[in-house]
């Protein structure tokens, strides 16, 4: 459930990058300030453990499918939220680079979805709250399952929101949620079961490990709220600045913003804002085909007049554009072939 570059609009991607970069810097400082330098190799080794664990699958009885350990919750339990967040961020970075999971622009989204929710929401408010200061076997099991499932569901909701806000995919919010959430509820429950089993194993074999991380200070409610407000502001600012830039030179970006507002039907269907946006969009005419797509959203279809008036506004939508695209791709391929041949010739000469 990695968010992908291909489904991401620049505004959403940049906002999530800002938030995630801020969180990473904050956590890096926090870990350094806590001066638990023993954590540096511990974080590295546990990150590698998550990798190794995810390479092994176990069979889920009666389904024929397989599952593996999810990372966020067990890392939070062993390391505390700040160090766990950094560790997950590093795991996802390596996955993005080596396995093409998601992509580098979507990395901001992915770290947020798979790191922020388990470490800063599910762990302190569900796992910690349920296990308390004197964990028992049953409490650990229940807390781990609930927290894992909740964390994963929040992460999946993050993917859904980011995808729908980006507007590259046509899937409406409701349908996408129906597609994603039940699957992730099931995965989350299984992951929680495994997490609790592993935690119980460690609890029996090395109880001091768990008490040690439990002793590290829990999150103070106030600082977390401040943190959240700060990052929300940063995200809104980035998105706002980006979309402002975009409307300076009409292109895909602001169109996707409009598309988003077209999609948020719960906000304001066909009222003043919507009409204003439609009128504005008509004036700019950067996407004359808009009304083809959503005839019910823009009732007075003015596009036939605007379409031929401008130059080739939307290259991808004309025949010439498509033919040219194919040609360009072929040219790029030829250039690559030529460069490759030259390189090989140079190698032979050497």
């Amino acid at each position: 459930m990695h968010m992908a570059d291909a489904l991401l609009s620049p505004a959403v991607g940049a906002s999530m990058w800002t938030v995630t970069a801020g969180l990473t810097v904050y956590c890096a400082r926090k870990v350094k300030k806590d001066a638990d330098e023993r954590k540096a190799p511990l974080m590295g080794v546990l990150g590698a453990f998550i990798f190794a664990a995810q390479m092994i699958n176990f069979s889920i009885p009666a389904t024929g499918s397989s599952g593996h350990l999810g990372g966020g919750m067990i890392l939070s339990i062993l390391l505390g939220p700040y160090a766990a967040f950094l560790t997950i961020a590093s795991v996802l970075t390596v996955q993005a680079l080596f396995f093409a999971d998601g992509g580098l622009l979507a990395l901001g989204c992915n770290i947020f979805n798979l790191g922020f929710f388990p470490c800063f929401i599910a762990y302190p408010f569900i796992y910690k709250a349920l296990t308390g200061s004197s964990p028992t076997r049953n409490r650990i099991v229940a807390a781990a399952i609930l927290a894992s499932a909740a964390g994963l569901l929040m992460g999946a909701s993050g993917v859904i929101l980011e995808t729908v806000l980006s507007g590259i995919s046509e899937l409406p919010l409701g349908a996408f949620a129906l597609l994603m959430l039940p699957i992730h509820l099931a995965i989350g429950l299984v992951e929680g079961l495994v997490t609790s089993a592993v935690v119980l194993f460690v609890w029996k074999a090395r109880p001091e490990v768990l008490t040690l991380s439990a002793a590290s200070r829990p999150l103070a409610g106030l600082s977390l709220r401040k943190l959240l407000a700060g990052f929300a502001a940063a995200a809104v600012l980035t998105g706002g600045i980006l979309s402002w830039f975009a409307s300076q030179n009409p292109d895909g970006l602001e169109w996707s913003m409009f598309h988003t507002s077209g999609h948020e039907e719960l906000a304001a269907p066909a009222d003043g804002l919507h009409r204003a946006l439609a009128a504005f969009q008509e004036k700019l005419a950067f996407l004359p085909d808009y009304d083809f797509k959503k005839p019910e959203a823009v009732p007075a279809a003015p596009a036939p007049e605007t379409a031929p008036s401008g130059p080739v506004v939307q290259p991808g939508t004309s025949v010439a554009g498509l033919v040219g695209a194919a040609l360009t791709l072929a040219l790029a391929g030829l250039a690559g072939l030529a460069l490759g041949l030259r390189r090989r010739a140079a190698e032979i000469r050497r």
Binding site: A52, I56, L104, L105, T163, V198, G321, A335, G336
Partner: protein, 268 residues
């Protein structure tokens, strides 16, 4: 089972490619990180119907692969492995968006198909760029570049340690799985109870190892800083590489090259 060994092989394969030598390999890691970032931004700046605008950008991965001698088949194979989620989400576009955008030779093509194609192209472009970065640079060098580009030190250290210990722990996991298989001739995968015990003992070993590593690091004077002995130097080639590609990205953003090409071809 995907298998621990095959996962490890994947890492080693990319690392071996990164150990090669080519004009692209010799560039400073910072240059490659920045050009990759610029490329990604220019790819996603395109609107979802702007399939033609994306086409010229393909020159970057194609040229970088050709210049560095990366095996295209291998990169494509990795892309295919990573594709299911994007395809699953993207494939709804043709279903949901059926307004006709363009007619090619009497064949009407809906907006959904165009945007689906653009999702696939974006996917291939962005992910191949990331793979090219790692396969021509190597992970340690990327981290060095990141730390020189002001990434948080604690995070870069974490990346380096994580990467180092993936090989150690995955090797250990591979031995455990092999031992499991030798004792369980019938089952391909462990049941959950066995799996948890396997992971639990792997985890306990990992914790012990972390403690030993920490003591070893302390006795060698570790103070939380990473020190790289080799200096990094930006050369003329770096400036040329960055300038060329960024100029190219801006050029194809400004001028609709595929549209012009197409019009010329159609006119004749």
């Amino acid at each position: 089972m995907k298998g621990v060994e095959s996962g490890l092989l994947d890492f080693s394969r990319l690392e071996m490619l990164a150990a090669g030598d080519s004009p692209v390999h010799r560039l400073d890691p910072r240059t490659k990180v920045l050009v990759t970032a610029a490329f990604l931004v220019f790819v996603v700046l395109h609107g979802k119907y702007d399939l033609a605008g994306l086409a010229p950008l393909a020159l970057y991965p194609v040229a970088a692969m050709a210049l560095s001698g990366l095996p295209a088949g291998y990169i494509l194979g990795k892309l295919l492995l990573a594709s299911p989620f994007v395809l699953l989400v993207g494939v709804w576009n043709p279903v949901l968006d059926r307004g006709i955008l363009v007619t090619v030779g009497g064949l009407p093509i809906s907006g959904g198909w165009i945007s689906f194609a653009s999702i696939v192209v974006r996917f291939a472009l962005t992910l191949s760029a990331a793979l090219i970065l790692i396969a021509t640079t190597g992970f340690d060098q990327v981290c060095r570049g990141l730390s020189r580009l002001y990434a948080p030190k604690a995070f870069v250290l974490q990346l380096l340690l994580l990467y180092r210990y993936i090989f150690v722990l995955a090797g250990e996991a591979a031995r455990m799985v092999r031992a499991f298989r030798l004792r369980n001739l019938s089952d391909e995968r462990p049941a959950m109870r066995t799996y948890a015990a396997l992971l639990g003992s792997l985890l306990v070993r990992a914790l012990d190892r972390a403690q030993r590593i920490h003591m070893a690091m302390l006795s060698r004077g570790f103070d939380g800083e990473i020190r790289m002995s080799r200096p990094m130097r930006l050369r003329l080639a770096d400036a040329a590489w960055a300038a060329f590609w960024i100029a190219f990205f801006i050029l194809v953003r400004r001028y609709d090259i595929p549209g012009l090409l197409g019009q010329i071809v159609i006119a004749h």
